[in-house]
């Protein structure tokens, strides 16, 4: 048997100190991904430090209407939280679009953000994978990559971040509070996950020992109308082929505020800044929405079997923005849509 030790952390500081002094240690949340990877032989920790008993299990109000979400809050609990449903429904929708009821009962918010790619080569220790074993190569480029990245990939890796929650949080400018050996800091969601470059083994900017303690969500007025939509291969319990999280405010037919993030297209949730910039002040029409998405996706470099993600994401985004425009208070005054 491959033995490992298990500890239940009683304090964040001690947990961080333990990790910092044990290169072979990992934090354990709900275990819905890490334990699977241990069974597959992809992860071989010597020590698991269970952080689910740390006092990061509440969803609290922040001044001004923001939320402080404990990293050990379970996905199911967050998805049903009244403040989330009220102030940022995209987060609840993203959670409910992923996994199954059983998994959501176990999985934690922090663990969800740090889940690994489901690239089939990454999950099979019998095959090369630069993310799992740097320098061994990336068979996905020529092989099975239907689910993999069209944006921000590198010759070394085309993995996608598989999660939905991170996409919604990215659109809403959330940040994670991180406690590390050197103290605490705040990392915006948009800066948490890394693009692979030539270091695909590093999923995030976190260092060994860094512990996500909370997700911080500032007051975002338009988040109350935010939505998350995904396209999947079956009606439930499958990873998003592509997903979109969006919030939109329309004033007299023109886009006044917009937030847009894409999932399923890159190694990190993809904040669509170029699309947002293009949309601000533009008419809230399908054509403008499509042009904005195309601007964002212009640098896309799809592979043989995932090129469909580009038109799929465009169609899903246009539909989602039209839906939001339709319910925006200023929608009644928007210019008539072209046929």
């Amino acid at each position: 048997m491959r033995p490992f030790r298990y500890q239940r952390a009683t304090g964040a500081e001690a947990a961080v100190a333990t990790l910092a002094s044990s290169p072979g240690a990992r934090y354990l949340g709900g275990g819905t991904n890490l334990v699977d990877l241990m069974k597959l032989g992809v992860e071989r920790p010597e020590l698991l430090v269970d952080v689910t008993a740390l006092p990061h299990t509440a969803v609290e109000d922040l001044p001004g209407g923001g939320l402080l979400i404990g990293a050990a809050v379970r996905g199911a609990e967050l998805a049903a939280h009244p403040a989330v449903l009220d102030r940022c429904p995209a987060i609840a929708q993203a959670l409910l679009a992923g996994a199954s009821g059983q998994l959501r009962n176990a999985a934690t918010v922090g663990g969800n953000l740090l889940q690994r790619t489901r690239c089939p080569y990454f999950q099979d220790p019998g095959k090369p994978c630069n993310k799992r074993e740097p320098g061994t190569g990336c068979p996905a480029r020529e092989g099975a990559h239907r689910h993999l990245a069209v944006l921000g990939a590198s010759p070394h890796c085309v993995a996608t971040h598989p999660g939905d929650l991170a996409v919604a949080l990215t659109a809403l400018d959330a940040a994670v509070r991180v406690r590390g050996p050197e103290g605490t800091r705040t990392v915006p969601l948009t800066a948490l996950h890394r693009l692979p470059g030539d270091r695909p083994e590093r999923d995030t900017v976190l260092d060994h020992g860094d512990l996500i303690t909370h997700v911080e969500l500032g007051p975002v007025p338009e988040a109350a109308g935010s939505v998350f939509r995904s396209a999947r291969d079956r009606a439930a319990f499958s990873f998003a082929l592509v997903s979109v999280a969006a919030a939109l405010e329309v004033d007299r037919g023109f886009v006044r505020r917009v937030r847009l993030a894409f999932g399923g297209v890159a190694a990190r949730p993809w904040r669509a800044r170029a699309a947002e910039d293009r949309l601000l002040g533009s008419p809230a029409t399908a054509e403008a929405f499509a042009r904005a998405v195309d601007t964002e996706l212009a640098p896309a470099e799809p592979l043989r079997d995932n090129a469909f993600k580009v038109p799929l994401l465009r169609a899903l985004t246009v539909r989602t923005l039209l839906e939001l425009a339709g319910r925006s208070p200023g929608a009644g005054e928007r210019p008539p849509e072209e046929p």
Partner: protein, 739 residues
Amino acid sequence: MTDPESGPARRPAPDCSPGGGPPPGAGGGARHAGALGEPVIRLEGREKVTGAARYAADHAAEVPLEDRAYAWPVPATIARGRILSVDPGPALAGPGVVAVLSHENAPRLTDADDATLLVLQSPRVAHRGQCVALAVAETLEAARAAAAAVRVVYEAEPHDAAFRPDHPGLYAPDTANAGEATDRIHGDPDRAYEEARFRVEAEYLVPPLHNHPLEPHAATARWSGGRLRVYDSSQGTTVVGRTLATLFGLAEESVTVVSEHVGGGFGSKGTPRPHVVLAALAARETGRPVTLALPRMLLPSLTGHRPFTAHRVRLGADGEGRLTSLEHAVTTYSSTVAEYTEQAATPGRHLYAVPNSRTTHRVTRLDVATPSWMRAPGGCPGAFALESALDELAVACELDPVELRLRNDTAEEPDSGLPYSSRRLADCLRSGADRFGWWGRDPRPGTRTEGRLLIGTGVASSTHPALAQPAVAEAHAAPGGGYRVRIAAADIGTGARTVLTQIAADALGAPLDRVRVEIGASDLPPAPVAGGSTGTASWGWAVHQACRELLYALAEHGGAPPEAGLTVRADTTEEIAAVSDAWARRAFGAQFAEVAVDMDTGATRVRRLLGVFATGRILNPRTARSQFVGGMIMGLGMGLTEHSALDPEFGDFTEQDLAAYHVAGCADVVDVQAYWLPEEDSRLNPMGAKGIGEIGIVGTAAAITSAVYHATGIRVRELPVLPERLLPGLAEWQRAVVV
């Protein structure tokens, strides 16, 4: 889902066994509740839902857990070549590791005419994932870690794991699976096609599909005094016992195989699979009872799968839509270990009247895992192709797809020329159309929308052989009035145990609770597997026969058994050999589907699925409905969600677990209804029943893709219906795609 036509079938069953006439005491008295045709609840249902039912890796009472060792296979990491060395050292150094078996030290096996079972016998590697070593340890976890620590050095050779319809290695096998003829030609199909008023020619592709029963292939093996006892997850203990006896050079009676409960098989447990041989090898080598439950990710490479099939279909029809020419050419692959040719060109030999036809199979051998049976082998992927082509022909002829099929109905089997013993395909189509609300359908595609959804409907025919195989059953009358029936049948979740009890009670004229049926062990009278939709017909025939003969024997004893009880044994070999070959025997049905396609994302959902079947007498409406509905749900998965891909670089399948291989989930299954028509057929078996385990899946995928065509105008000829196969065609529906 109440259905006047779906009620209990009439009793008593027509008697087609020689000797005729009711036996004394049978059928004359009051009928008993729970007899044949009643919706009896599964006898083992309570055990199953409470967790008391024992599966192959259970049986703690017989094989104490503390005595057991656990095995974990080491899969080959090359697709072709040979093993130069196996170093078990690092694995054996681990705590609790008992042994590492490989071709270098494993006990020798005798060929049992299935090369996939000659595990750990040679350094040859024929496909990635082949078991090249087996770690045995005190715990499952230790075995898994030990397997990962075994060092295998290979000499890899160039491999070919890329199938294509024009693969240079294609050849004509002697026969296709199930003994089906490789080629059948009638008339002059080429000339008839050229002269046809309407013509359709198209290619269809069905990807590799995996059976993935919920219970993985598992076995617990124990040797004692030269005898082997195995608890196996199997669709038939008789064949597993005989095969193990051959492999290990034992007398048949020295091997006992028990499959008390089985968590699904769908064909993948229809013959012995490598796991049971590995468990027996490990138990022999270590002197310990050994449990081996295959990890999910090894199922695709070790337990068989439905291979990729490529179909070229040409149909020609006259001005009335009557088929004048039918051609169905199938290409597929097998492994280098064993030949298996999915008999996917066969539906055209049975479904429609057509004077000129050519149906052919070609197979090539790749360096991949060996394919095998999966629910309705051949007929299911074949029907997808043929029934899709029928739908295309209906469009070409401007005929309603139901009407087109009705015009091509036949009372004689087109291939054999034999009359059907019964065939109610046309009635299934009409009844289904009535129930589904088909009539008056606007055939134009893309004419029904609901918001951003495109709605469409489709139909397909289904057929499956109605066969029976010889079996032996034993019936025993105890002095107190109770009965015991024994037969090595298998209940893989179908309700076989329950239905056989009903058949016995019916034949004996006894209440259900006086009859105990023992199944699921190879030391019971020998029986064929639960496969080919033949189980109930084959076992039921023997059970019926044994019970009748018991009544005769009892009559000779004055109606009551002697103190020791009375036992008779019936073997149906002669009866089945005497079955008239003047008739073609098949089950028929029709599936109707309504789909909704999201015009933006291409997401496709089946809103309604309705099947009507004519399958002889329905013996238990409750478990029968479950079989029909289950088959249709599996067909829904085939149509929309299930697909696997051979990875040409590595030679294995990309989809190795249930997160990646998408079996339809509850959210995908909205409204599935199954109905059946009363059908009396005295030329089948004493129960008048046709098998029902497979026909539900047969036409379902074609009904779904035809509905997608009706919804969108897009013909999906490669399964499943994925967004990327619809998006290009949906562009015109999207408001702002082109900028």
